[in-house]
Symmetry: C2
Subunit: 479 residues, 2 copies
């Protein structure tokens, strides 16, 4: 089993260099590769299969709440992008511009969508006339482009995949309700499916989306103590509606502006899965999102009956609804174990001639390496049970890591010390003014992650200026 | 039921003006809408739901043959596009060029992918080293851009949705086998799922894909007698591999070039569904692709028990695996019938107080308007049976239309007469030279659709030049 070591040695340990560990895992687990197109990546089959499962599960949850999918153009005429002032200021510096179509220059240049609020508004202005046309609860799955200067696989790239929901409502209350509903949907999805615990809250005015009245966010904590914004939901009020003239005749026959929301989640969640659950042997996938949940690895597979039994076990598990494969390649078992671990397959089943004689096989959990011997007639039940336990344990472990890396600062000195010595979330009181928020970045090196819905009163005053505090805020260093 | 008429009158009859009928249906069935972005469309929920079903069914069939999904960048650096000579000549005149990223001009301009052969080649050149890395059987779902001058909803737009498969193989035989396999997969999908009969064949050298050694195609016939290229599969041989240096160490330790294929199907198939199956009341969706297969329409829905029964029927059908909705809006039943017909929902169930008293409801087929009375305890079985019959009948009807609009021409005079008077496919012999093919376009106004795999010997000589014929060819006017 010499090769076993070789594959593991191929990745840097996370204690030594977390950033290098991350890119090593991304490459060795064959999730992504760099391309000749600067700042853009190839998502390889093992990575894309995770995204397909995310899409499938999110889409199912969306549709349960009445969301319908649509597709809008990838191009935005410059004049359309400029209609909402805050929005254009936020996005214009980082868009890609198309200036020629075929051999001719365009009359008006087009940007490749960095997000599609303006297109949806243009569409809604034509499509909405009466209260009968409301609400519109549309979503699209697509890629968007933001011309980032520095990029990292999944976390920040010039093009990335996402979904963007855009809704229009008759009342402000309904829009607010939808904004919160989608944030909670994202939070539940992260916790139930990705086993990633999140803090639900609101962005400060400084950190909110360009053009939004309010931005809600879920924030998760990576293994290295850095925060990751994991999903956002924006309430636009009627600001875009006024800029684009989206009006409807209400039941009382008066013309009113609609109230709008948007919300999105991206392929960066694959990065979150890696950085929350991974270890020094590679990726660890939560069972509910894993494209392959069980890898059956035959030992001495050339011996009579071993491969037959391996495929028999596979069929039994597949019939029970598990996603299962057999690794019948000509590599050594040790190498296969390492590959299964590197790729984060939640459990493996080891199966050799002696096991077969004894009517059993060994189930090994990817996260704890715990081994369970299971008789063939109960193997599907055992495997399903272990996968369920593993899913729950992974969430609990991540929650524990998050909680033990969440610190309370009573004053700015404490805050500086924590920020320097203990990577994680810092909970501290804030007066609500941008000067203090800017100073936190300048003096402490942290940004506001969110004003959590679950408020605690640590003290009565802002840690920076000492004036009366308005909110308890989560601060941190972020990806 | 006055409103009934009004909605139907909203569309032009197909006999009067087929092109106008088509755009009317596309609009009134709420499949698509125009946008402020010239040549680009919005695919609305009713249209996108059809595409989702196409995706789902094609993807399932792909994966059964070992296809894995990936995602490559949407941008192609100009130097990469230029690596294969024929390919760049074919596509460069119709691509959109990105020249600025953010506020700065790019060092090298990027085109928005019109198709991704060059990107896959660049990726494969880095990813393929050994025969163990082969075959690669990858696919991506994405949008592509071609700067068309004239556009039509679904059939031709500057941006459209599609899938593009790209494979690499160790041998020429394996590549040829995959090319044919995917063409047959498309053909089976069209016939079994979309109820659209197709002619399977090969494109002439003039009509083949830029850079391909051979292009296979499936061609279908629309209701107006025009042809639609419905799916293509290309064998590139080792041409791209040589241009991009994609080599592998074979089992005998020699370096060899890979053999490649690509194959694609697009949202234009939604246009095909409309133009093959639609009628003067609107869209007619084949049951297997219809997002909603059954619309339950209550009559006198305000009367006690009517709505309850309607939802009970809906639940019964849903449990039996049918996709079913109740139209409980406050519109008149006549208006609801018209809407259900306009949107092509395959069957409706009419259900009023008298029906409920009699313990039955009326099932109406969208295509034939045939009515079947079904007792409540057998209504799910009946509905499922009618949907199956309708699917089969639609394919048969389309096949009959295609066959009665396929003509044989023995000489150029006959061919001209048919082309002038009888819209449809024309089968005629051809010598194989491009001069005669060009002349057909010039003199007869038709293009070669394909050299069908199922050859017939109509005569021994080319209808144009009279020299010995090489192939029987399908000719026609095409979208």
């Amino acid at each position: 089993m010499a090769k076993d070591k070789k594959l593991v040695e191929a990745i840097t340990s996370m204690e030594e260099d977390f950033a290098k560990w991350y890119t090593d895992v991304v490459k060795k687990a064959e999730l992504i590769d760099y391309t000749s197109v600067k700042g853009c990546m190839v998502i390889k089959p093992a990575g894309y299969a995770i995204w397909e499962n995310i899409q499938h599960e999110l889409d199912r949850r969306f549709k349960e709440t009445g969301v319908e999918n649509v597709y809008l153009p990838m191009f935005i005429p410059e004049s359309l992008l400029q209609k909402e002032k805050d929005h254009v200021e936020g996005f214009a510096p980082e868009v890609a511009w198309v200036t020629h179509g075929g051999l001719e220059p365009l009359q008006e240049r087009l940007c490749v969508r960095p997000t599609s609020e303006t297109l949806f508004c243009d569409f809604y202005a034509k499509d909405i006339h009466s209260h009968r046309d409301l609400p519109k609860v549309y979503n699209q799955w697509c890629s968007v482009v933001r011309w980032e200067k520095t990029t990292r696989p999944f976390l920040r790239s010039r093009e990335f995949l996402w979904q963007e929901g855009h809704t229009a409502h008759a009342t402000a209350e309904e829009a607010e309700e939808r904004t919160k509903q989608m944030l909670n949907l994202y939070a539940d999805f992260c916790e139930e499916t990705l086993a990633i615990p999140v803090v639900r809250g609101q962005k400060t005015d400084k950190e909110k989306f360009a053009g939004a009245e309010a931005t809600y966010t879920i924030e998760s904590l990576m293994h290295d103590g850095k925060a990751l914004q994991s999903g956002t939901s924006h309430n636009f009020g009627d600001g875009f509606a006024k800029a684009f003239g989206i009006q409807f005749a209400d039941k009382d026959n008066t013309l009113k502006y609609v109230h709008q929301t948007s919300w999105g989640m991206t392929t960066r969640m694959i990065g979150a899965i890696i950085m929350v659950h991974g270890d020094n042997s590679g990726l660890v996938l939560p069972p509910r999102i894993a494209p392959t949940q069980v890898m059956v690895i035959p030992i001495q597979q050339k011996k009579d009956g071993v491969l037959d039994k391996a495929f028999e076990v596979k069929d039994t598990l597949a019939k029970a609804g598990l996603r299962v494969k057999v690794d019948d390649s000509d590599k050594s078992p040790g190498w296969k174990f390492s590959e299964q671990e590197m790729r984060g397959v939640p459990i493996r089943i080891e199966l050799g001639p002696k096991d077969i004689e004894a009517g059993q096989a060994v189930i090994v959990r990817r996260d704890t390496r715990e081994k369970t011997v299971a008789a063939f007639d109960e193997i599907a039940d055992k495997a399903a049970e272990i996968l369920e336990t593993m899913q729950t344990d992974m969430l609990e472990r991540a929650r524990e890591h998050r909680d033990t890396h969440t610190y309370i600062a009573h004053n700015i000195e404490e805050m500086k010390q924590i920020a320097d010595e203990k990577p994680g979330f810092i909970k501290a009181m804030w007066c609500g003014c941008q000067e203090c928020e800017d100073a936190m970045k300048e003096e402490v090196g942290v940004t506001s992650r969110c004003i959590p819905f679950a408020q605690e009163e640590i003290s009565g005053v802002c840690v920076h200026c000492g004036k009366p505090a308005k909110h308890m805020v989560y601060w941190g260093k972020a990806y």
